[in-house]
Symmetry: C2
Subunit: 203 residues, 2 copies
DNA sequence: TAGATTGTTAATCGATTAACAATC
DNA sequence: TAGATTGTTAATCGATTAACAATC
């Protein structure tokens, strides 16, 4: 497995490549990508080397080829079914954002303690949390977005893991305990803002 | 300035400490915090050392004291005024989440291209983007959350920077160019999910 | 006191950067 | 060809881990 940092940057390069493609470019050199992504050209080439991505000596990288290769690495050619747990403000917004934006990532269902109490209209089916385990197994869901209040997070996480979830995008302000074949990415909005304030105040 | 990683972990420790406090504990040892946060006890002590945080030899760390010290480092004792640009689903959800959750971080205003067209009721005043610069200057805002569509992001970012913003939490799928006295934290939800799929599929 | 824990210094590890041969 | 760029190997840098003296 390639280092995590490289994986993140590879996704950033993709964002840059899409922009270049949009501008009508056909190829890039490592220093173009580096400049756009805010890293050195050596970093770009080193990252590509990790994934065995080849360019053309002196000729740089063909943007379409490169995007194809990267999308292949991330299996972006096939639809990935995802569920959202916790259909509050954040959960609902994420669902709309992801389903509207992208066609390989699809939120197929939402879960909440008591969906009928929410009195909202959703774009996806929303079921009570106690049906979650069966749904995950029946649909072989591997990825879940967790957007429930802190105190509920660990218990729901356990249910997710038991049902077969392998990756969790966690918006709850809790550090989840999971077996190490389950990966967790934390997005703690308060912490991000605090970190920003920290670096802004001192500099 | 202390290393970025340490800053992030310090914020995580705070989350853990709040949990411990909630459970009625009064003190922790470095291995308690380490276990809870998923790092080694040495890492915890090293991080504290960066910020010159002192415990008690053999006696561990008093939770209240420690929380006070950490909150002090992040200036959490005083209200931080923040604005949100882009009052779509994500922007609106973030506003509600942050204002509801925490009382030192306050979203004081939102901005959108054409607020009246949104036909939504907001909990905060929402103004058109062209009033943004003046508002930032008049209220000495230093932190902004950016949640606008990709193509609009860089231009709005430039306006923010010119008006005096020093930190940007960026939800737009764009790598922003800013002068190096302005810090940017990117939250790219699609990338986070793709990264999760990458690690889940391969392991 | 003896055992346990902190705080720091030294050693290791991994990631980034520099250098350069290969080559188009 | 000469100059420019890739891809990889070596050197550097920084962050994590280990070791241990201080001490309660």
């Amino acid at each position: 497995m390639s280092p995590n940092r490289s994986v993140n940057r590879l996704l950033q390069y993709r964002t840059c490549l899409l922009k270049f493609q949009d501008l009508g470019f056909e190829k890039v050199f490592s220093y173009n990508l580096g400049e756009e992504a805010g890293v050195t050209p050596e970093q770009v080439r080193k990252d590509f080397s990790h994934f065995n991505i080849k360019g053309h000596k002196k000729g740089g990288y063909n943007i379409n080829e490169l995007l194809f290769t990267i999308n292949n690495i991330f299996k972006s050619y096939k639809v990935q079914k995802i569920i959202v747990v916790g259909m509050g403000n954040i959960g609902t917004a994420l669902t709309q954002f992801i389903n509207f934006k992208n066609n390989n990532l699809t939120i197929v269902a939402g879960f909440d303690i008591n969906p009928t109490a929410l009195k909202k209209k959703f774009d996806i089916p929303v079921y009570p949390v106690n049906e979650m385990g069966n749904f995950i197994k029946a649909n072989r869901i591997k990825i879940a977005v967790l957007a429930v209040p802190g105190p509920a997070a660990q218990e729901i996480c356990n249910t997710l893991v038991t049902a077969g979830i392998k990756g969790i995008l966690n918006f709850s302000p809790v550090i989840l305990k999971t077996p190490n074949n389950v990966s967790v990415k934390n997005v703690n909005l308060i912490d991000e803002l605090e970190g920003l304030i920290y670096s802004s105040v001192l500099s």
